[in-house]
């Protein structure tokens, strides 16, 4: 007698065949995924091999594979953690990142909802297009523009302030410690606002219009519909972007901070990213820079996992 198994019999060959049939059936969609996969493979996963540099002695010619192991292997991690500035670096990084998240995260949601409320499609498109433009201007150009606009020596902003208030003393917006964070945050919002709305506008476009019609019949106004339909319907997207945004808390962003750094604001502007650049890359301490990057990456991953866990337990939103 043949024993009867409690498990269903899975025919592996037919499973792969079915999978392949499904892929073939949706081949155009899979084709569209390929560039993204290649992008992440080339720019996100392959470079991960480079973390080996953190436990190797740097060499110009041998690369991180053939260069000798650091002795002890954690030498450069120890250097990073023993760093005299570590406390300041972490504090500054978290301060800037949290403020960026608080100010920068809701702004595109608000703009996306406002754009969605516009009745004139043409005007909406013009506003959208104009708001995307700053995204394509490099930080080097943006900071250069800010330097000119906010210069204490005849910059338009200081000149305007002098016209409005004859007592006004020229103010060095780009250098003073107390002005650093506002300038950084405002310029960050200006640069990223329009571009970040794309995801939310796409999410809003996917909302069933019957919901709005029903709400309209029930007497709901535009504001009520925004709060009771639009926001709840895109909450999944908001949640997912928030989780990934939390991952960025340990990376305050290198370009604008580095470009805006001056002796006057270094106390608040020296973050882990600028440290990696100044002490690591610029001074040729590639292993130390890599070790700092690895620590930063590991912390970011931990934050994402924890935030995702909390979201999963408290809401239905989760990345996995």
């Amino acid at each position: 007698m043949t024993p009867i198994s409690s498990k269903p019999v899975v025919n592996k060959a037919s499973y792969w065949k079915r999978l392949w049939q499904q892929i073939w059936k949706r081949r155009t969609k899979y084709l569209m995924i390929i560039p993204a996969l290649v992008f992440f493979l080339v720019f996100a996963y392959l470079p991960m091999v480079g973390v080996l540099q953190a436990v190797k002695e740097p060499s110009f010619t041998k690369g991180f594979i053939r260069s000798p192991w650091a002795n002890p292997w954690y030498k450069y991690f120890k250097q990073f953690f023993n760093n005299y500035q570590l406390g300041t670096l972490v504090t500054n990084t978290l301060r800037i990142s949290i403020l960026r998240l608080i100010t920068g995260f809701p702004a595109p949601i608000i703009l996306a909802i406002l754009l969605n409320e516009l009745r004139s499609t043409k005007f909406k498109r013009v506003v959208q297009s104009v708001s995307y433009v700053p995204h394509f201007i490099s930080w080097a150009v943006v900071v250069s523009m800010l330097n000119q606009l906010l210069s204490p020596n005849g910059g338009p902003v200081n000149s305007l302030m002098s016209l409005l208030n004859p007592e006004w003393e020229p103010y060095w917006f780009m250098g003073e410690e107390e002005a650093f964070l506002p300038v950084l945050l405002i310029s960050g919002i200006w640069k990223g606002l329009g571009w970040s709305t794309i995801v939310y506008l796409a999410a809003i476009a996917g909302i069933n219009t019957e919901l709005y019609e029903a709400a309209y019949i029930d007497g709901a106004g535009r504001i009520r519909m925004a709060f009771s339909i639009t926001l709840p319907c895109i909450s999944g997207t908001i949640g997912l972007l928030f989780i990934t945004g939390v991952g960025g808390l340990v990376a305050a962003g290198y370009d604008p901070i580095y470009l805006m750094q001056s002796p006057a604001n270094k106390g608040v502007s020296e973050v882990i990213d600028t440290y990696i650049m100044n002490v690591g890359i610029k001074s040729g301490r590639f292993s130390l820079a890599t070790a700092a990057g690895v620590v930063q990456g590991a912390l970011a991953m931990m934050l994402v996992v924890i935030t995702n866990f909390i979201f999963k337990r408290t809401t239905e939103i989760s990345m996995w």
Partner: protein, 543 residues
């Protein structure tokens, strides 16, 4: 007759047959060499046409070499690290700072030499560079000679050729670093330049300038005090608080080696600069301004007081001076240092240079023979005169056994201050010349400038102080565990200029005290004791 013609033709053919190989040998092979000038702030020496300028054409005729020069936009350290890390497609020639006075770039260069990224030059010099044999032998300090001949670097081979060195100590350039003031403002305020001898005098003068409501050529209010790219060289304003020594170390009241960080000089400097900044006397923007922004300020005479050397000020204010001769900048001082001497960081020198630009051929150099022949030509008397003075007969001529610029050249320079550089004179081709007769070239250029005594004046204010011996800083790498110590030192990440912008005087002093504590916590006192021991026991060591 016919036979004669045939014989003549045959003879012509034979002679031309003999002459052709000789001519072919004389005509050097055309080669373009890519050179990286790894030194920030030198791009003002770039001719408008880096290839087809007059001097470039002569050099090409003589050596076959055309230069394709890259200028750096970022720091020297970063550029060198990135170039060597590429490990391929490096420039043919790199010029970068090397010597005990340029520790960080020297470390990178040594590492590159040890990893085979730089070509050993000894055999090449033996074969193609007779004029290069003495380069780096007599014109550099003992410490630099030791570094160039270090058997542990590049297997003891020569891989660096120091350039821009002086032929004799008498030929060392006195750059004329000090604070300069716009001439018309000085005159208007009736201030004698020689009466400004301390940093506090500068403060008082800056206040007068601010209250004087002076304007630039465009009618904008003047900035009382400023500097050039990235704050260079604001330290001219702080000379009263700088204790000038070759090594940067000084002696305390007990005769022990100490750092200026452990004296009250740093507090005095920080409070002085705070005062200048807070009272709107010093251009805060200048600490981070780029080259173009800084030069734009001087183009209209917007800055009243500025710190730099005369060569830089002269080169960048010539157009202003042509249009407004009364605005010509005048040197103030001498502004005495903390010891009470007319010394700046630039007029105290060793008999040989402590560091300088060095030429290196990389392993990717496509034609090392041509590169050495090029450098060899530049180091001939003819080559040096060509690079520094131009073409004989056109740009300069002999006069009583000395060269001097022609009237026509001087006239062109008066019309267009960049005429010489655009011809390639005293420009990019000086990168390669060593053991320079600077004084003779200065005489050649200035023989007609009887009324231009600015350089002479500032050089008299700050005469050269030439020292002999090995600076104490040369021994710092011998401190046990120096690499780790240096990293700890760098990782503290504090520069005095941060204290200039502190919220209050008390906050500035607190920042300095915090830094001192940090220094002590990483073992700075042990390090000073080590250097003190060296200073007291090793003969010939100087501060």
């Amino acid at each position: 007759m016919k036979k004669r013609w045939i014989a003549f033709l045959l003879a012509l053919i034979v002679l031309s047959g003999l002459a052709l190989p000789v001519m072919a040998q004389e005509k050097p092979e055309d080669v373009t060499l890519r050179m990286l000038i790894c030194w920030t702030g030198l791009s003002f020496l770039k001719p408008d046409d880096q290839v087809n300028n007059a001097i470039g054409q002569v050099i090409k005729e003589k050596t076959g070499v055309t230069l394709d020069i890259d200028w750096i936009n970022t720091t020297e350290v970063e550029t060198l690290n990135l170039e060597f890390s590429k490990n391929s497609d490096m420039p043919d020639i790199i010029m970068a700072a090397y010597g005990p006075g340029a520790v960080v770039t020297s470390d990178i260069i040594n590492k590159a030499a040890n990893e085979g990224l730089l070509l050993p030059l000894d055999n090449l010099i033996d074969q193609y560079g007779p004029n290069l044999k003495n380069v780096g032998k007599v014109d550099v300090s003992e410490g630099m000679q030791a570094m160039l001949n270090d058997p542990e670097v590049g297997n003891g081979a020569t891989f660096c050729l120091p350039i821009h060195t002086a032929k004799t100590p008498d030929e060392i350039i006195n750059w004329g670093y000090t604070v300069y003031c716009r001439g018309d403002i000085l005159k208007s305020l009736n201030v004698d330049p020689a009466s400004i001898t301390t940093s506090d005098d500068l403060y008082e003068l800056a206040k007068k300038i601010k209250n004087g409501n002076f304007v630039d050529t465009m009618g904008n209010p003047v900035i009382p005090a400023s500097c050039w790219v990235n704050g260079w060289s604001y330290e001219c304003f702080c000379n009263s608080f700088r204790y000038r020594t070759i090594s940067g170390w000084m002696l305390d009241e007990n005769g022990n080696v100490t750092s200026p960080w452990f004296t009250d000089l740093v507090e005095k400097e920080a409070l002085f600069m705070r005062k200048m900044i807070n009272e709107g006397l010093y251009d805060v923007e200048s600490f981070t301004q780029d080259d173009a922004t800084s030069k734009a300020k001087y183009a209209t005479g917007r800055v009243a007081l500025t710190g730099a050397h005369w060569y830089h000020i002269d080169a960048n204010t010539r157009d202003l001076e042509l249009a407004h001769p009364e605005m010509r900048y005048e040197p103030l001082g001498p502004i005495l240092d903390a010891k009470g001497d007319p010394q700046t960081g630039a007029n105290i020198r060793l008999t040989g240079v402590e560091y300088t630009g060095c030429m290196m051929l990389t392993k990717d150099c496509k034609n090392p023979e041509a590169a050495i022949k090029y450098l060899n030509f530049l180091n001939s008397d003819e080559g040096k005169r060509l690079a520094y003075l131009g073409i004989e007969g056109e740009d300069w001529e002999w006069h009583n056994g000395e060269p001097r610029m022609t009237e026509a050249f001087i006239e062109e320079m008066e019309k267009d201050p960049r005429y010489g550089i655009n011809r390639g004179i005293d420009s990019i081709y000086t990168f390669g010349c060593a053991q320079i007769e600077n004084a003779m070239y200065e005489r050649a250029r200035n023989w007609k400038k009887e009324d231009d005594k600015t350089l002479e004046t500032v050089q008299e204010m700050y005469p050269l102080y030439i020292y002999e011996g090995i600076p104490l800083s040369y021994y710092q790498e011998q401190y046990p565990g120096y690499e780790d110590f240096r990293f700890a030192l760098e990782s503290i990440g504090f520069n005095l200029d941060q204290a200039y912008f502190a919220a209050s005087d008390a906050a500035a002093i607190k920042m300095i005290e915090r830094y001192r504590k940090a220094l002590i916590s990483i073992g700075y006192e042990d390090y000073m004791n080590f250097l003190n021991e060296i200073y007291k026991t090793v003969p010939g060591v100087i501060l």
